[in-house]
Symmetry: D2
Subunit: 280 residues, 4 copies
């Protein structure tokens, strides 16, 4: 009567800190690694036969073991090492998916100079990547999570349809704030992942700042176009742009006037805009 | 050079409280509503033309307006009302997706009697639903989020493969704790949604308690089988079962023995097991 | 020029799971333990001399070691064991403060019967305690964190002063929801901690349900009075009652009427009411 | 039998965004404001008489109203405006306490130039202040919350006492990471609050980076000394330094050696060190 359809398992949030002790400075690598394997695991689901089930505890150990055995300078490179490891040693696995989120650190400045081994957390933004390897394919994607940006002008929203439940007033000049989530796919599987990430991130951030926005949707598309123009290796990019609304506070009942300067910062509800821009 | 592929937009986390004031008791409804529309919205992305973009603020108002105008006794019923509303009034929309998470409340007991209008929050668990309506189809699904369960025995994990990075010891008797996320699809679009949800939830919880578990995967499948058996209207059910590990504390360096009674509670990393069981 | 005033150190969020395997049923104990020591630790601050600094890692081990060596049936009892341990073995310590938060679990019901070893998380509410031991004193307190309650009527707020910034309308009938934080002190250091906690919690919850509330402040005081009446060992009780507002949604612009039934659920800002009730 | 001891009430997490539109650039102010009043409020607790209870909703309006009516360039200045307002208009209030947490934003750089009206969130760190005004006194304090810093070397912990539960190994070279919470009191009530905050923050961060740490305690004291030296107006400073542990991963069971480079990042449990340094 019942049948197992999709299945997948792995270890999530394996948190790795690696210190590379160069003569002149230390490099700090902080990743949260997620591993998911798919393949011939039905016996475990159906009868509890774990003969083919590589323990998730072993996956965790593997993250630390391979981090010790290998040099790498990007999450994409490390994700490929992990994917290759699991695929080459586990014939029962048909697909390995490795996702990594990197915590960003800035060097502390002491008397204006970047310190060789002291760091300060630079925000909620994460650099992410996703590597998927099957018996016949390899795909590499990168991304950004929780890049919070805000502009105080050059954003409008008008010309929208009205129905009996519409109360929103049209505006030529509103605050536009969002937490950018972007994920892009590369058309190849090798390259300078750090330079590529920089190119895409810069395109996104600079477009956000300079775009004359008639809608969040339009800015999303403009950021996608800019990312594709900035990094030729990207073949498509998807965005989710949840609004972080700043709502003009109604000062009239207080006998005051709001000259587009006083806003209530809210967490929910929020507009939630998504879209994918592909190279044509 | 660039082209808009998928797009979607809407309002998330619209938090609704509705009180139904019956003569003998008040009913408390608390939903967090998420709305996503798909359709002919390219003009907004490409040129900032918002002629067809129903504001997300209007969507929010619609939640409160339709909650006032309609009686409903389940999130599924309210989600269908919302989906029908957006589809019937917006020809530019090709698909409306409504997801609702319901906060669960118990009535406070006073001197052993359930109080008519006072409630206590009964946990992190949410009842969820997802309704998707297109020009030619309607699908209804329900779910559970964050149902945290734990059993102190009747769980083993052994017979797994070992590689050079494997350190896990086999065990006949471990703690099994997880935060159940379950989502199921119904084969029809009408019925007693509350009874169905109860049937599936009871099947999941009772199976968790009584199953002799040889693997999380096996318990997942058993819960899926039980859910399909308990509610004939369910055509498939998917689970995600992230482990909430309790790791035996090594008391030996302290000169003590751990008789399978003292554990460290950890949040990460965690095993993360998924699977879908379909009616055959 | 500088001088060390207050100092304190310890280990926080030591998460312990203990399973007591009785013949007929298992008991599940889940505590998060916080330890802070005060005393002669100035040398560590001033010169990095750690001769008297019991490592916080040792404190963590001590939680697991003493949990294995001792039987206890309440967080208060375990906190006293820990406080006694640190004070008796560390003459440099002048005060040990142990705070414990207990996760609450209900037994899963299978076919109406409480299961002997399977449990379900019953909410965000925590049972807490605080034990402070010095060379000459011992104090025991207990508490509740995050007990979320809501009543749909029997709550008013009117007769308040108005100034030019006041826009709130008086109301005879509003929703009253809060997340109760209560902390009370006992007048003695032994007793049935579980029964006492039950007495106080029941007094709080039943008073919340049945009190005709003219202000959150008034309900706070009534709950305090009821707690003092219910448990003679309590000498004072403090509450913090942050509002969880439900704000009537203005349906008029939508051409509808709100019959005190449709509300927006908000997280912030929130009213935040505190008070202490002492036995006279 | 019962008596009201301490009482306090107010509004928490009033989130304000203010945009100052200068000709050449916009300034962005984002505060979360907490207000607590103390005074003659017993009637509300005892009988529900709200004659003297300024609604917390009015407090919220006051934040937005005074933000519109006043120019200010620091949270300290705005907190003093709020405190003065509540004290001067409410004779029943004996103390007003205003605490503000400021979100920090950096200007987005476009082609290397700081943008006049686009910003990026620069991290979890908050700038805080606390102003307390009574009928006879005014105190101003400032602080930092959640400043996350990490150094990969120049941190040791050894020479500590060992007991039967001690397993920690002594180390000459460990990672030291913490989330700094600092609160300091000024000896006066006027000055350049921004410059003072910069002076203290720089002293803390540079000391963290350059101090040869024999204990978290010692670094705490050194940071306090540096802060007092950097800003003459500070009369005392308190720190809480919760460890963010990086634990060397034991690679030996994997047949590998850990050359002080591979660490597990953990959230709990954590060492939790506090201390106050006062000007002598």
């Amino acid at each position: 009567m019942a049948r197992l359809a999709a299945n997948s398992y792995g270890k999530s949030e394996v948190r790795l800190t690696k210190v590379v002790r160069n003569p002149d400075r230390h490099d700090l690598i902080e990743y949260s690694v997620n591993i998911q394997l798919r393949g011939e695991f039905a016996a475990s689901y159906l009868t509890g036969d774990n003969t083919s089930v590589l323990p998730t505890d072993t996956m965790k150990n593997t993250v630390y073991g391979l981090a010790a055995q290998n040099e790498f300078d990007s999450p994409e490179a490390f994700a490929m090492i992990l994917a290759e490891h699991f695929m080459s040693r586990n014939p029962q696995v048909s697909e390995a998916e490795i996702r990594i989120a990197q915590t960003r650190w800035n060097r502390i400045k002491v008397a204006g100079k970047r310190h060789p081994h002291a760091f300060v957390d630079c925000g909620p933004e994460k650099r992410t990547c996703a590597v998927r390897k099957t018996r016949s394919s390899l795909s590499v994607g990168s991304g950004i999570d929780n890049l919070i940006v805000l502009k105080t002008t050059d954003s409008a929203f008008k010309g929208f349809p009205r129905d009996p439940f519409t109360t929103l007033v049209e505006t030529d000049d509103r605050i536009f704030a969002t937490s950018v989530q972007a994920n892009w796919e590369y058309g190849d599987t090798s390259g300078d992942w750090n330079q590529r990430h920089d190119e895409v991130r810069t395109a996104i951030v600079e477009t956000f700042a300079t775009h004359m926005s008639l809608a969040v949707q339009q800015t999303l598309y403009a950021m996608g176009e800019a990312a594709l123009a900035a990094c030729k290796s990207v073949r498509q990019i998807s965005f989710r742009l949840p609004n972080q609304h700043r709502i003009p506070f109604n000062l009239e009942p207080l006998g005051l006037k709001n000259t587009n300067s006083i806003f209530v910062t809210t967490s929910e509800p929020y507009g939630d805009i998504s879209g994918t821009v592909v190279r044509d």
